[in-house]
Subunit: 375 residues, 2 copies
DNA sequence: ACCACTTAAGCAACGCTGTTGCCAAAGTGC
DNA sequence: GCACTTTGGCAACAGCGTTGCTTAAGTGGT
């Protein structure tokens, strides 16, 4: 069951919800192509009859529909089922230091509207909130009429550390005035919608995780004005005990190395960005690769995804540089299976799209460690 | 549900097993003191009536029993239930480089017999296997007669990297001849019991995790002849995609630093053990602390436990040194909650005890990511 | 064109789960 | 001794996935 439904005890409604989420997730992953009942049964381990009952309920609720049939394999052809994408929507907000991106995503994860607004994160809270609320209204208005009624909530992603559980910000890097601000509740009041907040790197990682199989272990490394990580372990975002996981930029990579703004020495972010400032991209990639290799070895990650504006400027150099370090270390340790290193296309767009998934993912049983309820 | 029952679909027997495991785990944690039905209901989120039914089944199976009653709070006093420790046993083996420790643990995790044998891990496989099988027979003979019949299996912990899922060893550090050896199946044949193998650090971490609440996130750092880690995330061992997680010793902590036996540079193990060899314990502790702080920040761990012979020789120095680094970094980042640093007492004994838990933990729903079945 | 065979998927009955409503058991306190 | 509180079992129940069977809808040989 969703590990962490506060207490762990599971009853029949919980069982039903769990299996329904599982099936819905497989329908989502199957996309427009759809998936047959029997394949759903095979993938879930449920009996075909159970899948028939579950999909019948989903069809009644309007979440799934029949969509053609496959070629026969000697008998009655399989009926294909697929998700109904416009059965629900979510708004994703990316509050970056200098701009606000808002997207409207449907159940399938497709972005049906995008808007960008200038934003100064250092401005007073009321101003930032007004901009955010305006952005939400605007993307809702952009979308077809049916969408407006079925918006499940707003996911908001922003830099700095914060408490995902309570929705309270900590010291957003560079903007100390946000320390202790209850963004989730404030935004919920301004928009009249449920709100989920999380770090930008977590949002991006979640968005990427939803494109992978449900058990994936991977890490998203975001190199922009800072350096952060989003960890997906066992298919779920790892947020840690105080939802502060992913502090990657201030990992010590060079003991007693050059000082960093944070007060430490030899932080990977400082080393990496210094190299970038010098224009030495291969060295920046090598440093990032050393940090990534540490992570791969420690967690036995099976995929590394790079993103952020700085990476976007020299994608190949970073991918190749990071891959080289990881492969060299794997060779030393006699590991044969290689860990793919890829780049998340679209610069910062994955963050806003992932933010929308903060709201949608719980429907598919893809919440993090702390659950989430149906709409 | 046990995330990772191959496919994720859950049916009624799975539900029943899940809830029974949960209750059994709470009974185990409650220890000799026991726990009332109503508290079980509160902790699990199940209704009192459901708990009554579940505990009635457990009592019928001989796994639980009534044990006195609490003081009344104005009405009928609560009946206390507790685990029946001798309802099942498991053997734990710690195959170290120079000696083999075998323990017999009961369901409550209590060690009821211990034996130590000399062992040379570099000897031919047949010799090592014979010693291991002899050790298993010996600890079984040491225990009361009832125990001999109810041994669920053997858990074996050893250094080097290995594949937990298949039970095949990789290059055990320093003993290349073990590479590719199917230890689990070989030992199962020699003993006639189910066998589970894992890294020594994972076994120790699992043993420690079972003493904590079920949702704990912590890391066990073992400094002996090498340096390794065992990660417990969300209450479960994190083994990673290829069950190779916990490679902590060869994390790069000093970019382009002094060479390490592994072929890399600036590995934390090399730095740390060089300092130990110089007799500079505070420096070794500081280096270990830097690695631990990286880990705490990255994963938002809420506890660090140190162990191993090298640590045991200067417990206070290591605990204080590591704590100092972690606290300094927490202060820099404005985190108030402190991360406790403790030491696992008993030198290497926690490894053998944890090895036994490789077999017992699945009964309590505390398996790692890859399940495990009832006896 | 027909018919035997294969495969998919719904219907009905079933076993078993936790839940609900009720009542007996076993204390406390006036 | 009686009213009250609290625990915990009994019985009936709703709802989950499972099993056995039937119907639907194809293929392929004759």
């Amino acid at each position: 069951m969703n590990r962490g439904s506060r207490s762990g005890g599971a009853n029949l409604p919980a069982l039903r919800h769990h299996n329904a989420s599982l099936v819905l997730d497989l329908l989502r992953v199957a996309g427009e192509q759809g998936i047959s009942r029997l394949e759903l049964a095979g993938r879930t381990g449920l009996t075909p009859q159970a899948v028939s009952k579950i999909t019948a309920r989903l069809r009644t609720e309007g979440l799934a529909t029949e969509a053609g049939r496959l070629a026969s394999t000697g008998g009655k052809p399989r009926t294909v089922l697929r998700l109904v994408p416009d059965a629900g929507y979510a708004v994703g907000l990316h509050l970056d230091r200098d701009e606000l991106t808002a997207v409207l995503a449907d159940l399938a994860g497709t972005t049906v509207a995008t808007r960008t607004f200038p934003l100064h994160l250092g401005a007073p809270a009321a101003e930032v909130l007004a901009t955010a609320a305006h952005a939400v209204r605007t993307v809702r208005a952009d979308a077809p009429a049916a969408a407006a009624r079925q918006v499940f909530g707003v996911g908001a992603a922003l830099p700095g550390p914060l408490d995902h559980r309570s929705g309270v910000l900590h010291r957003v890097t560079g903007f100390p005035r946000w320390d202790g601000y209850p963004l989730r509740d404030a935004l919920a009041e301004h928009t009249g919608l449920p709100v989920v907040v999380d770090k930008d790197t977590n949002a991006a990682a979640l968005g990427l995780a939803l494109r992978e199989r449900a058990e994936a272990d991977f890490v998203y490394l975001h190199l922009g004005t800072g350096l952060g990580a989003g960890l997906v372990l066992g298919g779920a975002l790892h947020r840690g005990a105080r939802t502060g996981a992913g502090e990657f930029g201030h990992q010590t990579l060079q003991l007693d190395g050059p000082p960093c703004d944070c007060g430490g020495h030899g932080c990977i972010e400082a080393l990496c960005l210094t190299a970038v400032a010098r224009g030495d991209i291969p060295e920046a990639a090598r440093i990032l690769g050393a940090g990534a290799a540490n992570l791969v070895g420690l967690l036995d990650i099976d995929r590394v995804v790079l993103g952020g504006r700085t990476v976007a400027a020299h994608e190949d150099a970073y991918v190749n540089g990071v891959r080289a370090v990881i492969e060299e270390r794997a060779r030393r340790e006699g590991v044969t299976a290689s860990v793919p290193v890829t780049v998340a296309g679209g610069g910062d767009r994955p963050v806003a799209e992932g933010a929308a998934q903060l709201v949608l993912a719980p429907l598919f049983g893809r919440a993090g460690e702390d659950g989430g309820e149906r709409g």
